[in-house]
Symmetry: C2
Subunit: 198 residues, 2 copies
């Protein structure tokens, strides 16, 4: 016997979500079938409400209930510096750092030649347009430190420098609170290169 | 900055699903926000349709579009033997074994003294009622082989034997296609006890 068709359909659709394998999709589906109607209503409602209320800020492309978002419309922040991140989640992580008072720009991904993600697939044109129109003096690149993020950072730095804007990249080194035993070679090598006199 | 409230609510609700941690819930939520309206509609519709159409079979408690389910209403199957499983997913796994022609009974869980799951929390009373009313001559216990499944099997065997019904448990041993190197001690010990002359 196979799974009944309505369950099979639900499993197939849930399986397409990121990080959800076939076993996990099955587990989630059967769990959803066992949930109370109230619980299912809350789940579906939270998805629908979030989809309805969240929009992309037309300045920085952060997800927000407002456009421009609360960061872009905050006159106290430093509007001459922007930090480039790949995703809205990355923006939230950086925004927890109180010392940073500038604005942001969400690329919506990273360049990835292997996955055929080129400059036209992320918001590079919109970034250039913003750099040209707003009076921005420094761009901090905070793309991921994996190969895609690195390629993107190098590509962006090249373009942005041509516009006469200062470009920096987040510093490399050991993560704070980490055990050196578990740090990889490349990170340690970068930490040595970036060592500071005590 | 924290996550906007509608996203936060979605993350909190998704986080409660089994096997979904905080990071996974965030990833799923932001993915859902990026999905096309058509994709979201298909996801929500598949959940609602499955919830509406799937019911518990009143004989074996399998999830089915029909009541009694197609297995219980199949007159060709052997109605004198039932296989006890914990969940509808387990039933599907056993039903792939073509040699087994009997019926099923879905307990809806396993006894777990540590989690305060007792005989009244799973369908033991319904099982006894069925064993008393239907003319069943053999019960095969196919609960999981973890400690909860084991406790449940021992408990059930005791009760069922008193009803004068033959009780068996699925055999232990090495899983087919497995590497002995990765088999645990207890499994190997069971496989030795159950060794067959060649």
């Amino acid at each position: 016997m196979n799974r009944p068709q309505p369950v099979e359909r639900m499993v197939e659709i849930i399986k397409k979500l990121p990080g959800v394998g076939p076993k996990m999709a099955e587990r989630l589906s059967y769990h959803i079938l066992k949930m109370s109607q109230g619980e299912v209503d809350r789940l579906l409602d939270s998805i629908q409400k979030a989809r309805q209320t969240m929009k992309s800020c037309s300045v920085c492309y952060n997800l927000s209930e407002y456009d421009p978002c609360t960061l872009c419309s905050d006159s106290i922040r430093d509007h001459s510096t922007i930090c480039i991140v790949e995703t809205p989640q990355d923006l939230i992580a950086v925004s927890k750092v109180k010392e940073y008072k500038g604005l942001y720009f969400v690329l919506g991904g990273a360049l990835s030649p292997l996955d055929a993600v080129g400059p036209d697939d992320i918001r590079i044109d919109k970034l250039i347009k913003r750099l040209k129109s707003d009076s921005i003096t420094e761009v901090i690149i905070a793309t991921d430190t994996d190969s895609k993020g690195e390629i993107t950072a190098v590509y962006l730095a090249e373009i942005i420098k041509k516009l006469g804007v200062k470009v920096t990249r987040l510093g490399y080194g050991l993560p704070v609170g980490g055990d050196i035993e578990y740090a990889d070679e490349v990170t340690i090598s970068r930490a040595i290169a970036g060592r500071k006199e005590m």
